[in-house]
């Protein structure tokens, strides 16, 4: 009996009501606006990480590239001592906290039944690379542009958001074997 009970307790809990989760997310975003005067982000932190890494490997190469230089700043402080970098570390921690509380932490590869693990990982890499590239071109990803700019009624962000959905829906058919 006892054993069975603990089994039940460690079942992953169902997800939160999406509207309430959204309101929670919106309040976090609002808090960021009120305290910092800026919204949330994600991809920018990885740009800083990459720029810092590139500088270590090849400082000469980085010096000639405007893109990396922007993330390295004026060189007085480490590029990793950056707001978005710390925010993203927090995202990892927050995800871990929520996942642990709901017993949802499990080593896993998420995919549909009709694709191999290797295939899924290859697609994950390709999709990630497109995300990284697209996010830089659009000056932000779903967090920095869609959420943050969406709440600020930013024209570019709304155009961006429509295109994200358009692109994803248009391509979903070709990816159905991966997910369905």
């Amino acid at each position: 009996m006892n054993h069975q009970e603990s089994q039940i307790n460690f079942q992953p809990k169902p997800y939160m009501n999406p509207y309430l989760a959204g309101i929670g997310l919106g309040l976090v975003l609002l808090l960021s606006f009120v305290i910092m005067g800026r919204g949330l982000g994600a991809s920018g932190a990885f740009s800083s990480l990459l720029s810092a890494g590139m500088e270590k490997i090849s400082p000469e190469h980085v010096k000639s590239n405007e893109f990396y230089l922007e993330y390295l700043g004026d060189g007085t402080t480490s590029p990793l001592k950056d707001w978005l970098v710390f925010e993203v570390i927090g995202v990892f921690a927050g995800g871990l906290l929520s996942g642990a509380l709901a017993h949802r932490i499990k080593k896993d590869i998420e995919k549909g039944p009709r694709i191999s693990n290797f295939g899924r990982l290859a697609f994950a890499f390709i999709g990630g690379a497109m995300m990284g590239f697209g996010a830089k071109l659009a000056r932000g990803c779903t967090s920095g542009q869609a959420l943050t700019g969406g709440a600020l009624l930013n024209v570019g962000s709304w155009a961006f958001m429509l295109c994200v959905f358009a692109g994803a829906y248009a391509f979903a058919y070709f990816m159905r074997r991966q997910w369905r």
Binding site: Y19, G41, A135, R139, G144
Partner: protein, 217 residues
Amino acid sequence: MKNLFGQLSLNQKIAVVTLLLGLIAIFAGNPYQGNYTRIDAKEIALIVQKELDHITAEELADWIIKEKSDFRLIDLRSENEFSEYHIPKAENIQLIDLNNYTFLPTEKIILYSEGGIHSAQAWFLMIARGYKNVYMLKGGLDEWKEKILFPIISENATPDEIKNFERIKEVSRYFGGSPQTGKIEDIRVKKELPKLEMPAQGSPQTGTQKKKKKEGC
């Protein structure tokens, strides 16, 4: 009504509240308060009376030489005038654009124009918009030229004045000026404004250009 609301599901309740907030928003006005401001006339009068509203050309020169970067120097003149000559580190923002320009509340802002009138008007607008840390360059660019770029000492100056002038000369040379000794009548001799590349020692890139990393994603 209350009963009716109670019967709704949680999602419906959220929708109703959100819709209400949205409806009120139609009539509640603009959240950007940019153009409407309140001013405290007495406070402003006090600032002016106490001469807390300006800095002198010498002070400014001193800051630039020491490479202080805790202020922003705003040139209010036209683009042409600006490209002809401006004080090192200055940014060109004209009066009409100044109103649409957002500074950080913590920034120290120094305004200057040709004389003093335009900068005084701009100063007032800035104060009215709630910026506290705004100053004018006393006497504007005219006084900058007179005191810093082309300082003149009369032939019959006292030893004290001569000693002081040695220091001013150095400052003047830093900014590419040409200090002169002569009679007051000679003041009107032809003055050539220094080339914009001056001063050679200072790096004009730092300061205004050294922007922080972008804040976006």
